[in-house]
Symmetry: C2
Subunit: 377 residues, 2 copies
Amino acid sequence: MKLPSVASLLIRVYRTTGPVSHIQRIRHGAVLNKNYSSVSAVKNCTALLYRNHGEPSQVVQLESLDLPQVGAECVLVKMLAAPINPSDLNMLQGTYAILPELPAVGGNEGVAQVMEVGDKVKTLKVGDWVIPKDAGIGTWRTAAVLKADDLVTLPKDIPVLSAATLGVNPCTAYRMLTDFEELKAGDTVIQNAANSGVGQAVIQIAAAKGIHTINVIRDRPDLRQLSDRLTAMGATHVITEETLRRPEMKELFKSCPRPKLALNGVGGKSATELLRHLQSGGSLVTYGGMAKQPVTVPVSALIFKDVRVRGFWVTQWKRDNRHDDEALRHMLDELCILIRAGKLSAPICTQVQLQDFRKALENAMKPYVSTKQVFVM
Amino acid sequence: MKLPSVASLLIRVYRTTGPVSHIQRIRHGAVLNKNYSSVSAVKNCTALLYRNHGEPSQVVQLESLDLPQVGAECVLVKMLAAPINPSDLNMLQGTYAILPELPAVGGNEGVAQVMEVGDKVKTLKVGDWVIPKDAGIGTWRTAAVLKADDLVTLPKDIPVLSAATLGVNPCTAYRMLTDFEELKAGDTVIQNAANSGVGQAVIQIAAAKGIHTINVIRDRPDLRQLSDRLTAMGATHVITEETLRRPEMKELFKSCPRPKLALNGVGGKSATELLRHLQSGGSLVTYGGMAKQPVTVPVSALIFKDVRVRGFWVTQWKRDNRHDDEALRHMLDELCILIRAGKLSAPICTQVQLQDFRKALENAMKPYVSTKQVFVM
């Protein structure tokens, strides 16, 4: 599968306004033009480019790229902040389900400020904060010319780190809590990888709705500290993978009902154990596979317990809802209300400069990382 | 889980009409009463009873049981024919999801004729053909007193073997083809265990609707003969498990689209391979686990291909629709139309007498059995 839409649209936009230069080789949102004389105040940008797949910190380079003129339906944006997500790393490694043509700029998420708008743009104005509607923008850069239709505004009264990390993890958490089971206050959700970006958002969004969460994490040196942090966020129970497999789990179900929904970011045994604790007719939704093992489902759970096994990919959801701006708008508004109310915080972040990318990428690859690397431009 | 409804209802009915004798020990539909003087023409029956779980042919015994009086809401029926299904064997072995209290009469499916009706029965009349609405009747017997509400009529113009085998396998096939994906003529369904009772019904019902079927069977001595038989029934393609795993499968998809629906009666590798051939967004529905191995689903199939993994159990469907007679009636009517049109035949059956039960049970346990054992009373 090749990355469609954003990058190819940009190239099409560019082609209508000027001669084709070597931009055709750069498809991943990084549109540059050494031959074109732009009227924009910002004529170039610094970006984290990769020309080959491989070890993330090795294949990425910091480069200066020229920007094209701002076409009638485009905007010039200054990037404010952009995180390193696990899917970005998989893209660099060449193992993700969608891969841009190379060379490409890394990063699929982030918040930017509009600096200049094309003549026909009605939806955005200078100063607006925007995030990409879809993956494929190439967000690890200081500035970009983007099609206005590929962006959606965010209010400027939320923290910049919340804005930069809103479009992937909290949206994934929100949709998984909304689209698979009808959950109401008092219901229970169980999840593994509870310390991931998605996991933390699940805890907070569920808590805001009065939904119990049983949160499974791997045993680790700072277990108590992490457990306390998740509990402070609103987690009902925090348990280790080992506890998940023990008979004493039944004690836990004296204080909350068996879960209707299980969220799986791990796979393997962990997923099978989540399933085991589900209510009859409940759903297991997989959004990640950290353990690199498949999801194994006993036949009896399917036939006699009617468990439903599904997957979720926020990129696909955004594409399926590409022409329904209301659905995306409604979700972002709800999440921003939670952020303003102090009920949904950004994950703990380490802010890094673009030039420190090698260390940031290496840190993002380490196991048991409890902080998200975010480029701040 | 204990068998509810039918048997316990019968006992409740009996209790309103006469003294309680040792019938309380027989909960599995087999209601008998040595102390009661019945006004029915038929006062007792012969039944295949089991008092312990174990090897089917060893634990079953042929016994004579007295029948209770026909209560106001009950009917006396003469059993005409009743098959041995895999789930019946699992019940005898004690490995099924629902198990009756022992002693119990074996068998959960079959067709009977009404011989006498209670005063308050409006839905049935003498001479009607009836089948049970739910599992738990104990059908391997010559006669029974049953609650009218637990029975549904079938037209008498279909073959008795079709009637005796309609309620489980064809109903399972019909619902799986109806409830999980919206299938239209030209779509494809893939299934393993294509030679099972359910598999044969799937082939015929799908063919009647113009739906392609890809039918996977195990390699065996009479492969060609079996393949020809399934093709004559309407199978689009018949392949072996080995072929299912080979690259030449893509040749097959030149003549029919990739399946929206995969039906799994096997589990293990076979189920994973069915999944691999599904369309994006398609469903794998498991109704059996002949291989005694779980269903293993790659994480990427869930996240990036949005495959949906579900289970189906016709007994649960019947219970969920217990108070919606229309749903059951509509399905049976549709199936009877197919039977009359020569589009849905009973599986190849071996008719046996109740007294030959040991040999019948042994035959039903053999692998690669291509004929269903049916008791004819």
